[in-house]
Symmetry: C2
Subunit: 344 residues, 2 copies
DNA sequence: GTGAAAGCGCTAACAG
DNA sequence: CTGTTAGCGCTTTCAC
């Protein structure tokens, strides 16, 4: 005898009543409810999730899909941890649990997702690392699984998304650098087909065009979105005969490696080259200080969670005006890495 | 009509046979099995996890419990991402899925764990951030949930564990620094009651004693296990009248902040102070280069997975000589941060 | 080698 | 307000 049955027997009432009492149904005698709740605490009873899921067709679990292995993630160390924390403050209100679905680097993400969905693992999903064309979206839409993505894509099935304002970052950065006399400006982009790379490079080109300048294809540096990638970019850049005078770093993590690569050659940010990047817990400790964009990861998480809940039938009424698609703008923190002005 | 029932109807055989065919039971006609497997692929059938779990009492899921929020983890995402990747190479052989159980920073870890277990969420667990006294161990042992911990604890219920060799790091570091003429050596430790802090500080003291030296309590710096914590330590250290000549950094992430704090005061590692720390993707790009310990996170993950499986009845026969408790030693990579020798 | 049927723990519909 | 019961999808006896 185990589970709800044991609890019922212990209290000498039926399992139906126990279930109703625990699930807050109104049609239960308050005294009965009190006894049930107390006994549940005493005996440490918690409903078995499998039984409940099987019956209700829901799991109360939301999955955040991410790839494991270090080269891939691209966000800095604690990026996701902070986002998770924001998500959870929202989910806690609805007794939803967030788990990270870890797709091994040796498994195809699309296959992994299919498996997770078919198993009925989660009630909703959050996808990150959205690709320029992302088949996962279509699959989920066909299966009518609620999901939200952190990142846009050319694939559009009407799902909600949140994304950082890469166009805004590009525009502001370019305007700022041009105003300081820079004409030869480089940009970085991730090596793979993740969507943000396209957004960032394209908008940089447009912004430059607005000033009558062109984005030299030689000045688009592809890199792994990690420290080593940044170091590589620095080496490549330093080897050029006609070096850029400024560069935009699109990934958070690459600044550290990039700085190191420069310093080995005695090239100093804010004097010999202008850098605009993104703030992170690590970049905070670079010297000269980095001029870069910052955002509240926690707030981003909260918005992600609300956007997802707004698409789930069971919760949508609670989030009537959650923004289904939103570009999340970031603030520029001025540092010393682009402090100098070029002579005219 | 859905699930296995639909598949059976489609093939015009019974659901029992379908189940047996899919689960590789021997008592199935090979031709039948072939048809079932093919139909399953065509229709994209994957067994519902809740139904299966309810029946079998297992979930085929292993949970890795971690706390969200940035200050707490101390290790970066990338640390865990690499460990996960190692774990998954082992689990893939047994069709086990690894998920990260994300305990919100606002929830008590012990309560969270109870909830997860009672729900029957996972067949086994991996715990990190082990505390000096960790009630989670006793709880899991009582419930007979297989688990392994990344980190030791004074709490001992006979569970398997893996841990980094903090004593070895302390001993080697101290010996090395003393040999270079250092007598006044500082150590860091995490601010909370995580077990590794105790191990590291205690062994440092013993190692010093071996050289006839004492660990000055003033030279034990508690810090948040992140970049900001390292910066704080540097500030405190610089403010002292009788500064140490060397320091051991126990956390991976603090080196960056610590370097920055020093450089603001013009204090240079390897000249004005000796530093021994731990290598990480970020520390790789510090200058002067950090002398520090390194390990293969992926191999650590593999060992963790094997240690866990060795305790699970369903798999133990496959891992007869997995080491149930192992201190994982790290290699010292010589850098420039402790290059100098003190005058006698 | 296959089909029929029980039952895992739970919730919801229905009867009282 | 409470008890009884069907059935969620699946695996596993037990007959045949």
């Amino acid at each position: 005898m185990t589970g709800i049955r044991r609890l019922a027997q212990h209290l000498d009432i039926s399992i139906g009543t126990v279930s109703r009492a625990l699930n807050g149904r109104p049609d239960v005698n308050e005294e009965t409810r009190r006894r049930v709740l107390q006994a549940a605490t005493e005996l440490g009873y918690v409903p078995n999730q499998s039984g409940r899921s099987l019956r209700q067709g829901t799991t109360n679990i939301i999955g955040f899909m991410m790839q494991t292995g270090t080269e891939i993630t691209g966000q800095g160390d604690t990026f996701f941890m902070s986002v998770f924390d924001g998500i959870q403050t929202v989910f806690a209100r609805h007794r939803l649990d967030l788990v990270a679905l870890l797709c091994s680097s040796s498994e195809d993400p699309d296959d992994y997702l299919k498996r997770v969905v078919a198993r009925g693992f989660a009630d909703g999903l959050i996808l990150s690392a959205t690709q320029r064309h992302d088949p996962r979206f279509e699959f989920l839409a066909k299966r009518k699984i609620p999901f939200v993505t952190l990142g846009r894509s050319l694939t559009d099935v009407g799902q909600p998304w949140l994304d950082l304002d890469f166009e805004g970052m590009a525009q502001i950065s370019i305007d700022r650098l041009v105003a300081r006399g820079h004409r030869r400006i480089a940009v970085t982009r991730p090596h793979d087909d993740v969507n943000l790379g396209h957004l960032f490079v394209d908008q940089s080109a447009r912004a430059l065009a607005g000033h009558g300048l062109a984005l030299d294809p030689e000045l688009i540096f592809s890199s792994l979105p990690n420290e080593a990638g940044g170091y590589q970019v620095a080496r490549q850049l330093l080897a050029m005969t006609d070096r850029p005078t400024a560069i935009l770093l699109v990934n958070e993590t690459i600044a550290i490696g990039f700085y190191r690569g420069l310093s080995e050659a005695g090239v100093k940010p804010g004097r010999d080259i202008a850098i605009i990047g993104r703030q992170s817990p690590q970049s905070h400790f670079l010297s000269p200080s980095l001029t870069g964009f910052t955002l509240s990861r926690r707030d981003l998480g909260i918005a992600l969670a609300e956007a997802l809940l707004a698409t789930m039938p069971a919760f949508s009424h609670l989030y009537p005006d959650a923004d289904p698609r939103k570009v999340w703008s970031e603030d520029l923190i001025e540092g010393e890495s682009d402090a100098h002005t070029l002579p005219a």
